[in-house]
Amino acid sequence: MSLAGQIVNLLAALLLLISFAMLSQRRILTLIHLFAWQGVALAASTLIVAYSTGQTHLYFSAALTVALKVVLIPWVLHRLIDRLNVRWDVETLINIPTTMLIGIALAIFAFALATPISQLANTITRSTLGIALASVLLAFLMMIVRRKAVPQVIGFLAMENGLFFAATSATYGMPLVVELGVALDVLVGTFIFGIFFFHIREQFDSLDIRHMETLKED
């Protein structure tokens, strides 16, 4: 295997590791930092794929990743948690080891699922498809087990990271127009979520999503 392929594999492993770290992280502030680091790993792997395959549009998407997911969105989230005054919030998560074991099961499932698919691809990074799928599923799991609104949104953004990585590893990335569109969607989504946070807090006096399960006031 070429050195570029090995480094991409290492970065993919790092991406998966950060996904697990996010799953087990209690502090919102650290969660945002982890999200930013995931963006760094993603951008670095995109950059290496771009360099080793000569796909110029991947340079743009790497730059886009850094600008959006490493700088802008974490900054927006920082401001949001400052305004919402949840900067030092610690979420009480139930039983992290169990969540981790479910996470391992998901990772195995994703790996098994991706192996036959990745045989069809002929990219140098095809073996990382399983990791991309696993990080999508882990972000999904994170959205399910979290009760507060901000970590759920971070889970959503992490899922987008995983999808992006899947696109890069299976087909050397989507066309630039699609990527720009997705990036804009994510950005707009973050802003809309930010507005929603304030509305949720105004209505329920907390960001706990459980309050939204009872719709009727009785």
Binding site: N9, G103, I104, T115, S127
Partner: protein, 316 residues
């Protein structure tokens, strides 16, 4: 490789490990003292302590059974055996086929079981408390340790530690994400198994936190000396396992006397760095609450399993 020179290598290595292990302990203590702005104890202090303890008269509790007297010797023997299996200076040791990595983990488990039994034997509350905590940590650390070893075993296609090290030391340079994961997991297991800081504090006698110290509270004189020595050998063995698996370069082949000075030098440099690194880690980290230890060790297990899975996924 002639068998006599192989056996000579084996004897040399076993003696070397037993004699040098307290020195490593002294080095770690010295580094930690420097990092904490204290005046460092002399490097040879563990030897002085051992000598002092061997000259004292042993005091044994009235209710102690023979198990209590026997345990220090078993502990020392187990650790020495483990140190004989691990390729410290050379691969292809004649003694190595006696036990593979699974047996090695078993040897550590045997030592743990006996120390826990001896701690409960006296019937003091501290002994029982320490033994139960030790078993809690042990049963969580063991699978993580095995998984770490398996990752390395999958890469080299054997569970013999010497074969693994031989394969890893002689391969071309390659980035193995799976080995990186295994290395981090192994570091976490090393901290937990050797009663180092995030899990246990080796210097405290505070009943709320102590694990290992609570178990050996009733021992004195030569028994205590043997246990302290065994602890030093255990730390040495774990560090050399880590070095052998993740930084194997410079190790000699058995019977290759010419490569021995280089192997000594490489091992010395690696151990000095590893000891300083351990001290730094212990200074930077805070001790975890006991009930957070399962979380810490399940993370280690997770990392080890991920490493193994990634090995299958990317074949590297």
């Amino acid at each position: 490789m002639t068998s006599t020179s192989g056996i000579a290598f084996q004897l040399l290595q076993s003696l070397f490990v037993v004699l040098v292990a307290p020195l490593l302990m002294g080095w770690v203590n010295q580094c930690r003292a420097w990092l904490q702005n204290r005046i460092a104890p002399p490097l040879l202090l563990p030897y002085y302590t051992l000598a002092k303890l061997f000259h004292k008269d042993a005091v044994i509790a009235r209710d102690a059974s023979p198990l209590f007297r026997l345990t220090p010797y078993i502990l020392f023997g187990c650790m020495w055996l483990a140190a004989g299996i691990v390729p410290v200076l050379a691969t292809a040791l004649p003694f190595a086929p006696a036990a593979d990595i699974i047996a090695l983990v078993g040897v550590f488990a045997l030592a743990r079981v006996f120390s826990a039994l001896a701690a409960m034997d006296i019937g003091t509350s501290f002994g029982g408390l320490g033994a139960r905590r030790e078993m809690l940590i042990g049963f969580l650390a063991e699978p993580a340790m095995l998984m770490t070893m398996f990752t390395a075993a999958f890469i080299s296609g054997s569970t013999q530690l010497t074969t693994i090290v031989h394969t890893l030391a002689h391969r071309d340079f390659a980035v193995h994400p799976s080995l990186a994961f295994a290395a981090v997991a192994f570091l976490m297991v090393l901290l937990a198994e050797n009663a180092r800081i995030p899990i246990d504090n080796p210097t405290t006698h505070l009943e709320l936190t102590m694990v290992h110290e609570a178990m050996i509270l009733e021992y004195s004189a030569r028994h205590l000396a043997l246990i302290e020595w065994a602890v030093a050998i255990k730390l040495f063995a774990y560090m050399t396992i880590g070095i052998a698996l993740f930084l194997p370069w410079g190790i000699a082949d058995a019977g290759d006397w010419a490569a021995l000075p280089l192997a000594f030098a490489a091992l010395g440099v690696k151990l000095v760095l590893a000891g300083a690194g351990l001290a730094l880690l212990e200074t930077l980290l805070a001790k975890l609450r006991l009930f957070l230890a399962p979380e810490f060790l399940s993370s280690a297990f997770l990392l080890a399993v991920l490493g193994m899975l990634i090995h299958f996924l990317v074949r590297g």
